[in-house]
Symmetry: C4
Subunit: 212 residues, 4 copies
């Protein structure tokens, strides 16, 4: 009998929360064509993550695996998404973060292209900015950077490390032509942050389209 | 055994109507990221309201509390939303009103920004204006004011009191960058009014976008 | 015991088909704020129609009543919608028609405003035109007229009679700022026609918005 | 007792997969007004296809029939869609293809009109291009041709044969004013490809609408 290097009851709770999030976010159309991936911190130096290539609306517990923070599978022969390095980076850099969500909605993809040259989207004057933890008023400024896309995960990881090392605040980010990463202390907060960014991106796109 | 200052059977009926409204309005995407709040009048000088910060699509009866019209919690340690003052104001000013709904749809938020400078949206020529009680023809004019946003609830309350004291009709209102308040004699009418305003706002935004 | 002037089994089948249509069309958002009304022919000179003011997504058999073709309630004290005259007109003028649907979608309302001055919408080059009975190719032309809105039903009825008396084809029509009327030999065809018009209107609006 | 020229257990599995796809794609609004058709390869030289004219959201196993690759019904008196020739062409030309999907979403229809003059849509820089088998990076180019519409199926078949004979890659195609054809080695891949094209078309339309 194998001894797992993590608490299997905690793994099951995390996996269930990921399955639930996948079903809900898929129904919103934010995970087209088996894209997107989700994770939760699992004790010390580990994370539960979605296996590569599955339909995110129909996940089962078997579609969730464990990796360490060097992105190596733990006690499984399954293969994680190539993008898992972006999840473990967030867990390493933010000890308080418990869940990371990456989705591909239409607004996320389109906004990432439209705002790539500007380097990001600046939200001002929206009450919903208060849904991001630490933001207590619509009078604050909320920045969501857009990083260039690449199939080389290490280049993406380095870009984000450079941003964080420079001391700039980071509550989520877009990748050009790709999608969004958002996170929170637990799955509920991560989902609230993701929902708020999606809403704010749609509002900015609408304003752009309706403004003369 | 404590005697509650309200009829607990009526409270439960109200709370259930609020739970049902939350589930339906959340499925429409009008309550993103735990925003929005709902209330119903509860006998004399009291209202049942949603507790702050809950997911409005997954409310239970425990997520509904009672406040008096000075916005003080009644027989509970729960905290109401800061915006509860805007609900009790409507109950104080309109004795016939039985339900107040505050939501944050995309059209509500975007229209509030686009029409803030004009001070409001004027609806003319839409058959759906007849869904607002007291409007019998599409040939009437229906005004939905936009008030400036602030985190100071008293300032908001004063703005709306000033509007009402000047004798102008008020069937609902937008707050800039924020969302809508709508109400009715009961939950069914409040929901019909909210649905009609959402529809009319979308139509006005569409007309603006499609017009050359 | 009263003898009803219609077959009550047929009434129940018709009423159920109307209830089902109401639930489905309401879920699509085409019946906002208790708007819209539906009917089916019921034997000789009678029609089953929705009672005024009900939520079309939550109809029960009790929300369906019978009228004759002079729009008088039959064997009921319920009140039909004022617009019932537009339903009975179609049954009188088209003996083969078995079902009439009137809805208020956003595209129907917005298109009615945008195309009111032109007097109607002309569809050309869409494969979906073939969904309208009698249209076998996308190379035909399909006209959907827009009639001016009025609260006086007799004026509306006269407008439509004039159109038909002039021999022009009529497969459905919009009323300015209001919504659409569509019909078919049975409920299935009426729904297919309504769905096709909604789709075609959205496509025309999109083309207008995306074209430079 | 008749001996069927195919494995009836395999037919039932295919038919069920088609029924499931119809229900899901219909809920997304991609099969308006009984349009669209679906098929799966069934052993040697045969395909299971949808019967003409049925509501694709409410298919039963009785709504699926078998044709050979000359588009002749096999062991049935049912009539296939006229467009079945476009399905069998794909099975003949691509021996590895197991499922073909034809839908009529709004984005598919509108894009087909907007890009007809250009002869097709070119996708570049979207991460979702990787959802199309054989595309490993967003840096590749993905072309979706638009062919002119005609009611003469042989003309359509010839157009597509000419494209393929010229050696150009084909992962799916639009027909002007009509809809999309997409396919894959099995139903899961065909659905992933269809979902990816729909997403990418919407993104291109959005970019066009939001760009100054």
């Amino acid at each position: 009998m194998t001894t797992l290097p993590y608490d299997s009851a905690q793994f099951e709770r995390n996996a269930q929360a990921i399955v639930d999030a996948g079903r809900d976010l898929s129904m919103l159309g934010w995970t087209p064509a088996t894209s997107s991936n989700f994770s939760m911190r699992l004790g010390d130096g580990l994370a539960a993550v979605t296996v590569s290539g599955r339909d995110k609306g129909k996940l089962g517990l078997d579609d969730i695996m464990v990796v360490d923070f060097e992105n190596r599978p733990v006690a499984t022969s399954a293969r994680p998404s190539a993008e898992v390095a972006l999840h473990t980076q967030i867990y390493r850099r933010f000890p308080q973060v418990g869940a990371v969500l990456h989705t591909h909605s239409r607004a996320q993809s389109v906004a990432s292209r439209l705002f790539a040259n500007a380097g990001g989207v600046r939200f001002e004057g929206w009450e919903l900015q208060k849904a991001i933890s630490g933001h207590d008023t619509h009078e604050s400024v909320l920045d969501l950077p857009v990083f260039p896309n690449t199939q080389d995960m290490q280049v993406l990881v380095d870009q984000i490390d450079t941003w964080l090392d420079s001391g700039k605040p980071l509550h989520g980010y877009l990748i050009d032509g790709h999608g969004i990463y958002a996170w929170g202390v637990d799955m509920a907060e991560a989902r609230r942050h993701l929902e708020a960014f999606e809403f704010l991106l749609n509002c900015e796109l609408d304003l752009r389209s309706f403004s003369p």
